[in-house]
Amino acid sequence: MVMGDLVDEVEVAVLGGGPGGYSAAFRCAELGLETVVIDAAQRLGGACLFEGCIPSKALLHVAAVLSEAERAKEFGVDFGEPRISLDPLRKWKQERVVGKLARGLAAVAKAKGVEVIGGRGVFEDSSTLRIEAGETLRKVRFKHAIVATGSRPSGLPGLTIESDRIMDSTAALELADIPERLLVIGGGYIGLELGTVYAVLGSRVTVVEMTDGLLPGVDRDLVQSLQRRVTQLFAAIHLETRVAALREAGAEIEADLEGRGTERFDRVLVAVGRRAQSDNLGLEATRVRLTERGRFVQVDERCRTEDPRIYAVGDVTGEPMLAHRAMRQGKVAAEVLAGRPAAFDNVAIPAVVFTDPEIAWCGLSEAQAKAQGLTVKVSKFQWAASGRAATLGRSDGLTKLVTDGASGRILGVGIVGPGAGELIAEATLAVETAALAEDVAATIHAHPTLSEGLMEAAEHLLGA
């Protein structure tokens, strides 16, 4: 630049304003470190707030209200046919939910003195970030950097065609319209959550999954109950099926489903996973190393990369790609670089699928525990025996407890049923603090609540 570069010096530069990035930045600021966040959109919240967790949960809430209203007919309450107006719905999601939370984060950043710089950050070396924002170029020299650039939806290799009708999860959350026929490629949590939203809003949803079951990798005991429900909700679920080709044909998309012939859809949602955003960051100018598989930034337990000045947190560091993992890592990275003895050594990272019913789990599954050579005792509590579940008309839930056979320590918990995402919190605390089944059994749980399920499962184990 003719004028000479504008160079700022900071103690900590956080690259990416998502949950990992802002958690790290806020903690750094609390620890007295001068911190800036560099975010392409110059805002805090990231994919989680603007194109993931939050907007999808807003839409899932709408779907839940519609489903409940429909089910109310069972007990003699008929609201009539719902009329859905997309404009107010989108506006509510965008302004009252996402916008409100975004303003909240901006206010916290201001209060903590964290500057949010707009632009694309690229490492020039191990102590300099170049920030590209349109014509202007700015540089930040840092003592420490935290890479928190997250992930983005994966495409379908070989199947990418240019069409507005083919959406990734970000586009699907925009809710451009309610297509009559929607093809969802991928039976993982993103496909099932968004498939649920569209199905309840009126789309005929077909889900195609490559493996032999929905939610690959999740305990089959938990998936069963969900599978029953979505089989009724969706027009079709094709397991062990690949999409061989997608073609735009007028206002439709033709999809060749291997072994099932060609079907026509109005829109397609590609939800085959997410990949790390570790490219185009200039990391090759630093000593940061990426993994062979997945191109994740390699970090140790303290979120340190191979470059002593650079830390990394969140999706860009690997699975599970969950906002709450990123947030915890962000705080750990901040404390480690401030010289505190923190480590990301968490035993339990809860995972929640916000379908209806919800599925949530934490710690070790029965299969994982056995694979580790542990002798386990498993206890399952069917919600058919739960008073609260009966009053909700939802007896299709299950609470599953996996414990160490010798010590009785709770190793993992899986829950399927309404509210599983909230119920898993107690289980996560139990696993993280190495609680015993006896501890949970002897703790009073409010009656009648769904939380009694965990206590019941623990009691059952002790009685056995």
């Binding site: 020299r141 010798a406 190495a434 501890d439």
Partner: protein, 436 residues
């Protein structure tokens, strides 16, 4: 129940200490943390505070005696306060360990680390306990849990911290043949036996003077380092005319803040910054594991000449501190060392050493690496020299530097690059100001 306080593990592979003074008398009633003894170790003279409050029943040692780790020092009688709850972990490791020792039994007999009952599976400790373990440097996975279901409790972690470090000790000088008492002892062997000395008396009268504790330690460590490490030295000179001007201009301003601004503070900063970019020089070679231990912290030692001999106090986290702060800490630390008041923690944990012989003259010196570090920076006196700049001969203040490093770990080119970075930082001192 009487409680006996034994010489705690002093860390750094130190196995014994010399009692310099006993600060209490039998029958005294003292409070927790009151000064109990002064001991001199290979590293420093330190004061050991009382781990508990109570009446001193018996003192087992006397000044001049050398005692081994685990040997009883003082017995407290009953009727006094139990040891207060755990000390805040922010206290120095020496203090914290000291406080652990009243477990009466010699450390060797106390809780030996055993793998937890579950064997596999996640670690059975709460997040708070795991944090405590990290603070105390304990591998929580190796601690036997005494809580329900084998859960590792805070007390289990503290007990493990008080136990002897075992294999974790960083290659101590082999403590062979330590005579039970009396100051004169043979040097520890590093594998080579020195041939017997001739009888000097045949050529004239001689006098024999026992080595002091510190002298013996220096001798052992230098032998160890010089024998074990293939030393290479790289020579360079830095033009510190500008840096010197900055120091001179700011002397008064710094003094107003209570800091004597010295070249050493800038040298520390420059070395630490260069180390962050050349991590192999901030490391230790682990020959047994075949690994290089790269340290992610930058604690720099400064060789200080004292009346008793050479001492290397350590300043922590130099990379993160502004020069003024380094200057302030350096001044305070040097004063503590000269007063013999340095704590054990002031003298250990270093990752790199600087020795400044400038004040005493000379044109260059090749120091011995402070084992088990990888490199040492030697600095001689800066002199005005005639230097050619842009075809003109100009007077510039030139500082001779030597970088001596372990050739097992780095090669000449690496050393040259590292030394060049230090020189460049000293020649562009503004970088030292804004890079912390």
């Amino acid at each position: 129940m009487p409680r006996t306080f034994s010489l705690p593990d002093l860390g750094e592979g130190l196995t014994e200490a010399e009692i310099v003074a006993v600060l209490v008398r039998e029958g005294d009633v003292i409070r927790e943390d009151a000064p109990l003894l002064e001991v001199e170790t290979d590293k420093a003279q330190v004061e050991i505070p009382s781990p508990i409050g109570g009446r001193v029943e018996k003192i087992h040692v006397e000044p001049g005696q050398t005692v081994k780790v685990g040997a009883p020092l003082v017995t407290f009688s009953d009727g006094a306060a139990e040891p207060a709850s755990a000390p805040p972990p922010s206290r120095s490791a020496a203090g914290a360990r000291t406080t652990k020792a009243p477990a009466a039994a010699p450390p060797a007999a106390s809780a030996s680390p055993v793998s937890s009952t579950a064997g596999a599976g996640p670690v059975a400790a709460t997040p708070a306990t795991r944090r405590l373990a990290r603070e105390l440097g304990v591998d929580v996975k190796a601690v036997r849990g005494t809580g329900p279901g084998g859960r590792v409790l805070d007390d289990d972690v503290r007990a493990a911290a008080a136990a002897p470090p075992g294999s974790t000790a960083p290659a101590p000088p082999p403590a062979k043949a330590a005579a039970p008492a009396g100051p004169a002892k043979p040097l520890a062997s590093v594998g080579l036996e020195a041939p017997a000395l001739p009888r000097f008396e045949q050529w004239g009268p001689v006098e024999r003077a026992p080595l002091s504790h510190l002298r013996r330690t220096i001798a052992e460590r230098m032998t160890l380092s010089a024998t074990l490490i293939p030393h290479v030295t790289h020579f360079d000179r830095a033009d510190i005319t500008d840096l010197d001007a900055i120091i001179t201009r700011n002397l008064e301003a710094a003094r107003a803040k209570g800091v004597t601004l010295t070249l050493t503070a800038f040298l520390l900063k420059a070395a630490a910054l260069a180390l962050t970019r050349h991590p192999t020089f901030n490391a230790s070679l682990d020959p047994a594991a075949g690994e290089l231990v790269l340290k992610r912290y930058y604690h720099l030692g400064v060789a200080v000449a004292t009346e008793r001999g050479l001492i290397v106090p350590v300043l922590r986290d130099i990379d993160r501190k502004p020069v003024l702060e380094i200057g302030r800490e350096l001044g305070a630390l040097a004063q503590r060392v000269r007063d013999g008041k340095a704590a054990l923690d002031d003298l250990r944990g270093g990752t790199f050493t600087i020795t400044n012989i400038g004040a005493l003259g000379g044109t260059a010196a090749i120091p011995i690496i402070n084992y088990p570090e990888v490199a040492i920076l030697g600095v001689a006196r800066a002199r005005q020299e005639a230097v050619v700049r842009q075809g003109q001969i100009v007077p510039r203040l030139m500082l001779p530097l030597t970088l001596t490093f372990d050739h097992r770990v780095a090669d000449g080119a690496d050393g040259a690059r590292f030394a060049t970075e230090i020189v460049q930082l000293l020649e562009a001192p503004e970088r030292l100001l804004w890079e912390w």
